[in-house]
């Protein structure tokens, strides 16, 4: 039987969700028999491949590159999972949305007010969007897996349910934060 193609993506987040994914420990070995990890921060593949079955997207959409990236991911993925609070709600990444001119205020704070020398805005990086967005404000999301981070047990449960062709039920199982 062909293995299910799984990808994981890291947008604006702290990588904590990926750490939690790795926290599945020895269960990853069982998973490896069923899935093929075709794209991930821990896999050295540059371009997001075509025909991915399941993609876990960690992090909010905060800059122009991520916006483009997420749209490509959506086109090439059958089942897209909003992975963790940043992807589901915006979480800490989106706290800047509360400020009027958020991009300017954030950059000013991080690159001017709080530094002692070389005070300047970064130039060689993607432009920040006016607001940081949870994934479903940009593309269609098929499944929400909240948590900061979602526990390894929960990730394992969700992934195995999907691999077995069932729809995971999160009622009473997940926790924001």
């Amino acid at each position: 039987m062909a293995k299910v193609k799984v990808a994981t993506v890291w947008l604006s987040g702290c990588s904590g969700c990926h750490m939690s994914f790795l926290d599945q420990d020895e269960k990853i070995i069982e998973l490896a028999e069923k899935i093929e990890l075709v794209y991930s921060p821990i896999v050295d593949i540059k371009d997001f491949p075509e025909n991915v079955d399941i993609t876990f997207v960690e992090g909010a959409v905060a800059n122009e590159e991520q916006l483009h990236q997420l749209k490509t991911i959506r086109e090439r993925t059958k089942l897209l999972i909003a992975f963790g609070d940043c992807a589901v709600t915006g979480n800490v990444v989106a706290l800047r949305n509360m400020f009027q001119d958020s991009v300017k205020e954030v950059l000013e704070r991080a690159y001017v007010e709080n530094v002692d020398h070389s005070k300047q805005y970064p130039t060689q990086v993607p432009k920040l969007l006016e607001n940081a967005h949870p994934l479903h404000e940009v593309v269609k999301v098929d499944f929400y897996l909240p948590g900061c981070p979602p526990s390894a047990e929960l990730i394992n449960y969700v992934l195995n349910e999907i691999l077995d062709g069932r729809k995971p039920s999160l009622e009473g199982r997940f926790k924001f934060g």
Partner: protein, 234 residues
């Protein structure tokens, strides 16, 4: 003490309640769960959050169980797809209205809104979040009032008024712009009437009023109003 003379049916089960009981009380006494948020035992119920709505046979409207008295032969349904739909919607709207960011909240792990989201499987908000920014009042030496997490349940107002007997707190403005005020909308530290008793923080269901440098799990005392009322009755 009056007797349990009223007979009603809740979720197909025949139960007996006192004539003074509400549907919520009768359900609770019989181990039937109805979700609540603004309601707190010992405080005046006012049916604000609408989470405790139930279906009453013969009435097309949904009734708030915390304010509706029981009556003879009443038939109540506490759990149905229709009720769950509305409850989920309420939780969703509450999550979207203010900036509820559980991961960085003092109430994380002991928040009633967070618990309800878990219980009802509200795993995201389909409406965009409001992201309106409110100033945080950190002027008081012990307490913080963070409107950004407030769900306007008014438990703090009622406990301050009814239990502490001071009525320092109240609400200003209307609708989504409503917010809790201290005295005549002054910084907390400037309040002459506040006794710094901390009852407001003890009953806050979320992380809107809390004790500085302490997780809410240490300071929360949901049973406090009920305890005081019970003691005063003796």
């Amino acid at each position: 003490m009056s007797e349990r003379t009223v007979k009603l049916v809740i979720d197909g089960r025949e139960v007996f309640a006192k004539p003074t009981d509400t549907i919520l009380k009768a359900a609770k006494d019989n181990g039937i769960y109805i979700p609540t948020l603004c309601y707190l035992e010992g405080l005046t119920a006012y049916g604000g959050c609408r989470l405790c709505v139930v279906e009453v046979k013969g009435n097309p409207k949904l009734m708030t169980s915390c304010t509706t008295p029981v009556s003879n032969n009443m038939e109540v349904i506490t759990n149905s797809p229709r009720l769950n739909k509305y409850r989920k919607q309420i939780i969703e709207l509450l999550l979207a209205e203010r900036t509820h960011t559980c991961s960085v909240c003092v109430a994380n792990g002991s928040c009633e809104l967070q618990e309800l989201a878990t219980r009802f499987g509200v795993d995201h908000t389909s409406v965009s979040r409001n992201w309106k920014r409110f100033e945080i009042d950190m002027t008081h030496e012990r307490f913080v009032l963070d409107h950004n997490r407030c769900i306007l349940c008014t438990r703090c107002i009622r406990v301050c008024d009814e239990i502490e007997g001071v009525h320092v707190l109240d609400v200003k403005r209307r609708g989504k712009d409503s917010s809790i005020v201290i005295d005549l909308d002054e910084p907390w530290a400037a309040s002459y009437s506040c006794t710094s008793c901390g009852k407001c923080s003890a009953v806050c269901p979320v992380g809107a009023i809390y004790v500085k440098l302490k997780p809410l799990s240490e300071t929360k005392k949901k049973e406090l109003p009920e305890f005081v009322v019970e003691r005063r009755r003796r």
